[in-house]
């Protein structure tokens, strides 16, 4: 058996992850053609690289099909119920930083806080006959956040991409999405709520609490963790 390490399969997240491991003496690389999702690990024995979509890594960790995985904290908390019991956070990798935020049109000069959003939602429902729509792909996190802060009369509408455009297209009145610089928000005439920060996320190395480890694999995992110089 080998230790399986799940890493995002493309883009900056993959490159930065490779850099992070490389700086600690574990060389990760893609093998074969550009389009083939296969990888190699050098510098440590018995570790297999599994290239996956960042969104699937939480599920694979929870199922125990990979032992370690790199993905965003936002995805782990959105996709895994009682996430702490399914995975353990080993190290924050210091990149891929992004905030899950709630944003409304910049022209809503009367709305700056969740308290305002709640009041605006009540008036909106009375005026339009349906609940104020918030476009997001982070349904669980946003629902919990709204419940905790006692915001009512809203509904979530699913948006898997181009979320900031939903307001102009009138398929939503507000959005809840990941942003790193806020540039997309500004370009789409949106603004953050001053108390609408739901979660600060970054790329994080997780260990599965569900994956089985036998004999030699336990040693391999500990060797890897030692080499990465993180608390296991």
């Amino acid at each position: 058996m080998t230790i399986k390490l799940g890493v995002p399969s493309k883009g900056r997240l993959m490159e930065k992850t490779f850099d992070w491991f490389g700086a600690r003496g574990v060389a990760l690389s893609r093998t074969g053609s550009d389009r083939e999702y296969a990888g190699a690990v050098e510098g440590v024995d018995g570790v297999e690289l599994v290239l996956l979509s960042a969104g699937e890594i939480p599920r694979e960790l929870a199922a125990g099909r990979i032992h370690l995985g790199v993905t965003g904290t936002d995805l782990v908390r959105e996709k895994l119920g009682m996430w702490e019991q399914q995975v353990e956070e080993l190290a924050k990798l210091g990149f891929g930083g992004a905030d899950l935020i709630i944003a409304v049109p910049h022209c809503w000069v009367d709305v700056d806080t969740l308290d305002d959003l709640d009041a605006a939602a009540a008036a909106f429902r009375a005026e339009h006959g349906f609940r104020l729509r918030i476009a997001t792909k982070y349904h669980r996190l946003i629902r919990e956040f709204m419940k905790e802060h006692g915001v009512a009369d809203y509904q979530l509408v699913d948006s898997q991409g181009a979320t900031e455009g939903t307001i102009k297209n009138q398929t939503a009145e507000a959005v809840a999405d990941i942003t790193s610089t806020g540039e997309t928000l500004r370009a789409n005439h949106l603004k953050l709520l001053s108390d609408g920060l739901v979660l600060k996320s970054q790329a994080t190395l997780f260990r599965s609490r569900k994956a089985r480890l036998q004999g030699a694999d336990k040693v391999r995992l500990n060797t890897l963790i030692d080499k990465l110089n993180i608390e296991g």
Binding site: G81, M82, P105, H106, C107, W108, V109, D110, D112, T113, D115, D116, D118, A119, A120, A122, A123, F124, E127, H128, R131, L132, H139, R140, R143, E144, M146, K147, E148, H149, G150, V151, A152, D153, Y154, Q155, L156, I167, K168, Q170, E173, H189, S194
Partner: protein, 361 residues
């Protein structure tokens, strides 16, 4: 976990008890249109109920409780007064506690009767209590109607009362609003800035989305009016707190609430109703002298319970949820009835927990 067949048999027995109390047995569909439930309960219901869908009927929910379909059935073609009973599975998503069931049986007893609400409250309580009286359970009771009456009786604007009434079931936001309306917490700086501007829309940029200029201006106007309102007096906030802090056996709670009503006459009618209910309970043989009453009980449960609320808890098993719960939900029939309404009170027993506790005894 007890065997399912055993629980089902116990459910049938409990339903027979309710039939014996004059209830007509009914069935409802397991798949319920999601729209109705979402409109009633909002996004929170998605955290509690399983949603599924097909291309023809759209989103459906696995029934999270029987209340809504039973009320709909009654309002469409029920004769009055009516008593119903049912037994069947309800489905609840569990994302926090793996020990809670996601599928379990409920046996219910619902009374639709305009005549004498106090008597109907007592009847539902006593009937459900009678069915589980052999178990070691502690009864908790409350009355959301008193809190509602207190909010409506506050000396402040209708708009502020409406805002508070809307959040009775969300204690944290209710408290935040009360603190602001009473001047305990100041208005946020951004709001003061907004109201200090002659033309708040000057830096608004392009107006996008469905919520238009008029709605934004209307709210600014409402905020201006609200900023000029005298804060709710501290004595009034203290009275709300006094109501929420009542925690006594029923006769003492009634005494306490009568005292509060001297300073807040708006709750007098609701307190009289509590007294009538106590008398009706005593007439049915309920030991009211030892019945607990809590001013804040039921606030974090189902929205739409707007009067009497009760629950029976297995004290020896704090890990288990309530064996039975119920209450008055007139507001729900008003929303579902689209102008029509019928006073309604009911409750459910969980036969699975009954069997479990009987096995332990």
């Amino acid at each position: 976990m007890p065997h399912k067949a055993l629980m089902r048999a116990r459910a049938a027995e409990l339903r027979a008890v309710f039939e014996g109390a004059g209830a007509q047995p009914i069935e409802t569909a397991i798949l319920q249109p999601a729209e109705v439930l979402l409109d009633l309960y909002g996004e929170d219901i998605r955290a509690r109920a399983y949603v599924t869908s097909d291309a023809l009927r759209g989103e459906q929910m696995l029934r999270p409780d029987f209340t809504v379909p039973v009320v709909q059935m009654h309002m469409e073609h029920g004769a009055e007064p009516a008593r119903y009973t049912y037994a069947g599975e309800v489905f609840r998503r569990q994302e926090v506690d793996p020990n809670r069931s996601s599928e379990y049986l409920q046996v219910g007893f619902e009374v639709f009767d305009r005549d004498n609400p106090a008597k109907a409250d007592a009847e539902v309580y006593a009937t459900i209590h009678g069915a589980i009286a052999h178990l070691d359970v502690r009864a908790a009771t409350g009355d959301i109607g008193i809190l509602k009456a207190a909010v409506h009786g506050l000396e402040t604007t209708e708009r502020r009362k409406r805002a508070l009434a809307r959040h009775i079931w969300r204690p944290r936001r209710f408290r935040a609003l009360l603190d602001r309306f009473s001047g305990r917490t100041p208005a946020p700086a951004t709001r003061l800035n907004l109201l200090a501007q002659d033309d708040p829309m000057s830096a608004a940029g392009p107006v996008i989305g469905l919520r238009g200029m008029r709605e934004i201006s209307d709210r600014i106007e409402a905020l201006r009016e609200d900023a000029a309102v005298t804060p709710i007096a501290a004595t009034q906030v203290d009275l709300i707190d006094a109501i929420l802090n009542v925690r006594e056996t029923l006769p003492f709670a009634l005494e306490r609430l009568r005292d509060i009503a001297v300073d807040m006459p708006a709750i007098t009618e609701a307190v009289v109703r509590l007294q009538e209910r106590m008398e009706a309970l005593a007439a049915l043989g309920v030991d009211v002298d030892n019945l607990e009453f809590e001013g804040s009980y039921g606030r974090t449960q189902m929205e739409y319970y707007d009067g009497f609320v009760f629950g029976f808890y297995p004290d020896a098993r704090p890990d288990l949820p309530a064996v039975a719960t119920g209450g008055r939900y007139d507001a729900l029939t008003r929303v579902l009835g689209e102008g029509d309404e019928i006073p309604a009170v009911g409750g459910v027993i969980r036969p699975g927990l009954v069997v479990q506790l009987e096995g332990a005894a």
